[in-house]
């Protein structure tokens, strides 16, 4: 650095630091923008009705049996940020039973917050199984009932794209811009970070952010085709630690 100061403008350009992201192993499934085949598949899949605005998501949130206070609090926080979200007690019902009853009452998504060692740990999403970590906020603000915008960042591969689509389909496709609320799903090194903010444009360049909902960290464990079925369900993708985690520079999402 001293040499750099002495040389001034003549100093050689700083080398780009090596990170796991820019040293990532090449992945052939990374989606190129405007890939005809991917668009064709996305226009004809189950979630296409949400994104074209024909269907509005209606989400059923439930827990495992005998939820602890942290788990119920997380459910309440989720319900405060995700519109058209209803919380029900599990009442010892089997998942298959719940999904059948939910479908009869026009629910489109099912989120199950399980707990491990009395802390909320696993989301069983109706299609994906996501691990969950959680961090508290310093000064939580109250969200308004406006539909938030959704930002997805870092979902590059074909798998990442379908997971991102699934997560984005939790929110109605037409956001209410007057609420100035935004939900961000950020994927970094296969961890999905979920944040809720309210934004304000201060002038042409600066934006103020106010954090609203819970901070969640998700990790994909498996992705199933159709409704959740532990025995006969077809898996799109399962995380197999010993096969897949042989390199630190390989990411799947």
């Amino acid at each position: 650095q001293k040499e750099r100061k002495v040389l001034g403008d003549k100093a050689p350009p700083k080398p780009i630091p090596k990170t796991l992201e820019n040293q990532r192993e090449p992945d052939e499934t990374i989606v190129q923008p405007q890939d005809e085949e991917v668009l064709l598949e996305e226009n004809s899949d189950e979630l296409s009705a949400y994104f074209s605005g024909q269907e509005v998501p209606k989400i059923l949130v439930t827990t495992s049996d005998r939820p602890r206070s942290q788990t119920t609090r997380l459910c309440a926080e989720l319900a405060s940020v995700i519109p058209s979200c209803e919380i029900y007690y599990r009442r010892g019902l089997a998942l298959k039973c719940i999904s059948k009853q939910g479908a009869a009452r026009n629910f489109t998504h099912l989120i199950v917050v399980n707990q491990n060692r009395q802390k909320p740990s696993i989301f069983v999403f109706i299609l994906a199984d996501l691990g969950l970590g959680r961090r508290g906020m310093r000064r939580p603000r109250r969200p308004t009932p406006h539909t938030p915008e959704v930002i997805m960042t870092g979902f590059g591969t074909r798998l990442g794209r379908s997971v991102g689509r699934l997560l984005a389909s939790l929110f109605p496709s037409r956001p209410n811009f007057t609420g100035r609320q935004v939900a961000t799903f950020h994927n970094q090194r296969d961890f999905i970070f979920l944040r809720f903010h309210r934004y304000m444009f201060k002038d042409g360049t600066k934006v103020g952010l106010q954090e609203l909902g819970p901070r969640l960290t998700l990790k994909l464990r498996s992705l199933q085709r159709g409704t959740f079925d532990s025995c006969f369900g077809l898996y799109d993708w399962v995380h197999k630690r010993h096969e897949m985690d042989t390199s630190r520079r390989r990411f799947h999402l």
Binding site: S44, R158, F232
Partner: protein, 280 residues
């Protein structure tokens, strides 16, 4: 576009696309043989036979490898659910749908044969040596063998052979292993492929001693994989962009034509035999 007659593996995708894949060690080249405008969810390829495509909407399309295009379409709607198997028998088509309706489609509608094979059919396969004999099986539906010249009664009804039953994960696919009649290659819903010896009832213990070495698999993860059965090695893995439902192996002589394959010539001669055995 690549020549359709030199494709080694044909794949049917859930988007209704037909893909050809040349088995090439150096380059990976997959070709689409459908137009992007026509396919969609209702054109999803549910079953294939050489080289007919049974789509979700009840149409069976015939593909001509010479002109690289679809030559004819046939409306084969009937029963409920998707196609679980399609086969050819002379000039007629044999289709089987999920609800158990097995039908032989002749040119003359009076000669058409229809029979019920039971609910929740998962697979219908044809005997390659005598094409009038087909086998069906499914969930809670025992394996039955039918002679289509005498369709009133099943030739053989197995007891307790039900697809889809296993203690851990359901088997989703099954194929007869070459030459060794007591072995089958099975794949489950978790994406694991194993060779099971039915005599001994153990998984993965009899990989040695196979003289026919290749098995090709495709799945929801959009990859085509070709494994060597002898040493369990992955020989070929291609990303094909769409979810894949079914595949066909070409039994053309062009396995020998490509100069790259000379070093592994014996592999492909044996492969030819394998494709003949499986009736692909």
């Amino acid at each position: 576009m690549a020549q359709p007659s030199v494709q080694h593996v044909w794949l049917g995708a859930q988007t209704g696309l037909l893909k050809g894949e040349m088995f090439n060690v150096v380059r990976k080249n997959a070709t689409n043989f459908s137009e992007f405008q026509s396919p969609g969810r209702e054109h999803e390829v549910c079953a294939m036979c050489w080289i007919h495509l049974a789509c979700r909407n009840g149409l069976v399309k015939k593909f001509d490898t010479g002109s690289a295009g679809f030559v004819s379409e046939r409306d084969c709607t009937g029963g409920e659910g998707t196609f679980r198997g399609v086969a050819t028998w002379g000039s007629s088509l044999i289709t089987c749908v999920q609800s158990g309706l097995l039908k032989v489609w002749e040119e003359d509608p009076l000669n058409q044969v229809a029979l019920e094979v039971g609910r929740d059919v998962y697979k219908m396969r044809q005997n390659p040596e005598s094409p009038q004999i087909v086998a069906t099986g499914g969930k809670e539906n025992n394996l039955k063998i039918w002679d289509l010249q005498n369709p009133l009664k099943a030739v053989f009804k197995a007891k307790n052979i039900i697809l889809w039953q296993s203690p851990d994960n359901a088997f989703s696919t099954l194929s007869h292993s070459p030459l060794c009649f007591s072995s089958v290659v099975v794949g489950n819903t978790h994406g694991q492929v194993a060779v099971v010896d039915l005599r001994r009832g153990m998984v993965g213990c009899c990989l040695k001693g196979f003289s026919l070495p290749l098995v090709a698999s495709c799945g929801l993860d959009r990859f085509l994989r070709v494994h060597d059965l002898r040493n369990k090695q992955l020989l070929h893995k291609v990303y094909l962009k769409s979810r894949l439902n079914c595949l066909l192996l070409s039994s053309k002589e062009n396995w020998e034509v490509s100069p790259i394959f000379i070093s592994t010539f014996d592999v492909f001669l044996l492969f030819l035999y394998l494709t003949k055995r499986n009736g692909c």
